[in-house]
Amino acid sequence: MNQNPTPQTGHGTGDYVTVNIGPSHPAMHGTLRVIALTDGESLIKAEPEIGYLHRGVEKLGESLSYHQFIPITDRLNYCSAIPNNVSYEMAVEKLMGLEVPEKAQLIRVIMMELARIADHQVCVGILGVDLGAFTPFFYLIIQREEIYEIFEWFNGARLTNTFGRIGGVDADLPDDFEDRWNELKPNVRKANEETEKLLTHNRIWMDRTIGVSAFSAEDALNWGFTGPCLRACGVKRDLRKDEPYCMYDKFDFEVPVGKNGDVFDRYIVRMIEMEQSIKIIDQAYKLYKEMPADAPLMARVPKVIKPPAGEVYSALESPNGELGFFVKSDGSANPYRIRIRPPCYMIYQAFPELVKGELIADLVACLSSLNVIAGELDR
């Protein structure tokens, strides 16, 4: 694992050592790699190297038809596939000028918020694991399994859901969704409470997270942060509020905002967002129930999708931040160019700034709190 064994001589106090962290490293979430120049325990420089999971998704999209690309989007942010699907579908719908029926939009909201909860659960759990607290991870993952069961029973897959179609969704919510949700809701809350008990006011946890890799709001905007990481810096920006899509303007929810943009704030923002997501699902399901049972789920979409030539960009608030799809069409049945704007790509590029002057242990904490998912990072 030490591919660069020769120590480099630093400019400052003495000899620095290059430590190659990753790509196979417990804290590197699969395929990330950080080349850290260290002075003992403290970091002089940490240079992330990415591309270890570059699978050519954008190129692949150019050879697939519009519908065929939906399953590929599952594999971007594999912690929460549904927002990826919906974001791509929204982009194509925008390109074609389709109006998605309200019922389908509500189903999308419900499923996306469930995915948000699942994503945040995994992020918080892994943050705990990386800081040495294993148990919250297990508590959260049990409830995540329940969410997976809802997904699975809704569209057949646990992880790679391939949710929805261009122009709407393919199936209605099953009849006993309400029962399942009512069963799940207190459990999710309970798991979150347990996690809060174990972590939030734990002195060690606070010492490890508060003030670690703090980032100012200006810097965050300059580096292109979005999502919980930006909100932790104190910028109240949430596409669900600012550029409402999928009827998000009809729901009453709060956007949690942090102060310092440190690991602790990111953690807290995620914890609160889970609670807000539960609120949104409740409201969306209430609206959904008011719809007639035979309301349409799909817009009128031709069998072979051939959008008119043009290029659009459409984004939504995925659990990680602004997930955008730029779709360029030349009028044929295959997209001409698909560009994915993954949220953690923009966040992770500021990593050297985030961990400047911190310790190796903080590097791990910072990385987990950013929730960098290699699938969407490298595409």
Partner: protein, 190 residues
């Protein structure tokens, strides 16, 4: 006043607008390549616009779009030379092959704008936006990695997603999806 007019008012007087287009509510403005930095500063600092957030930067290869459509493929052996000559003649008249698209966002008014720059194959250098938005760091590197578009003034312009000595630019339209066998030296020659 809608966004299109405001952009025109801002950039028009200095002849910085090459073309403007609108697609499903997404406004895109094409600007000359050499003045991209000025344009960005103007767009960011003009009071009515205030595009203070760089959302994304990426390239597009217009090779297939520029091709005349439905050209019959001649299979005759003698015709090859003539075809080549035809192609070179076409190339000269074609619009520049690549585009760099910048997605801008105004946080105050939640407006989005696409700024486009055309890059010809023989002059693949664009000014880097790193001095204005650090967010353009990796996206520019990726555009370099995938298309070979060089960004002048970028502090660390090297390959991002592919390994360092990867011989091609994979997202170009003339690069096959399944690659050209670059795996070989990585896997088998060890």
């Amino acid at each position: 006043m809608d966004l299109k007019n405001r952009v025109e008012q801002c950039l028009g007087p200095e002849n910085l607008v090459v073309a403007m287009a609108e697609c499903q509510g997404d406004l895109s403005v094409e600007v000359p390549k050499r003045s991209i930095l000025d344009v960005m500063r103007l767009l960011r600092d003009t009071p009515g616009l205030g595009f203070n957030f760089l959302s994304d930067v990426f390239g597009v290869d217009n090779l297939d779009l520029n091709k005349p459509k439905k050209r019959p493929k001649k299979k005759t052996e003698e015709g090859e030379g003539a075809e080549e000559a035809e192609e070179t003649a076409e190339k000269e008249s074609l619009p520049p092959r690549f585009e760099v698209i910048y997605l801008l966002l105004c946080l105050e008014r939640n407006e989005r704008l696409q700024v486009k720059v055309r890059v010809a194959e023989d002059d693949m250098e664009v000014d880097s936006l790193y001095s204005i938005w650090k967010a353009s760091d990796w996206p520019e590197r990726e555009a370099f990695d995938m298309y070979g578009i060089r960004f002048k003034g970028h502090p660390n312009l090297k390959r991002l997603l592919m390994w360092d000595d990867f011989p091609a630019y994979p997202l170009r339209k003339d690069y096959p999806l399944e690659g050209q066998g670059e795996e070989r030296h990585l896997i088998y020659d060890d």
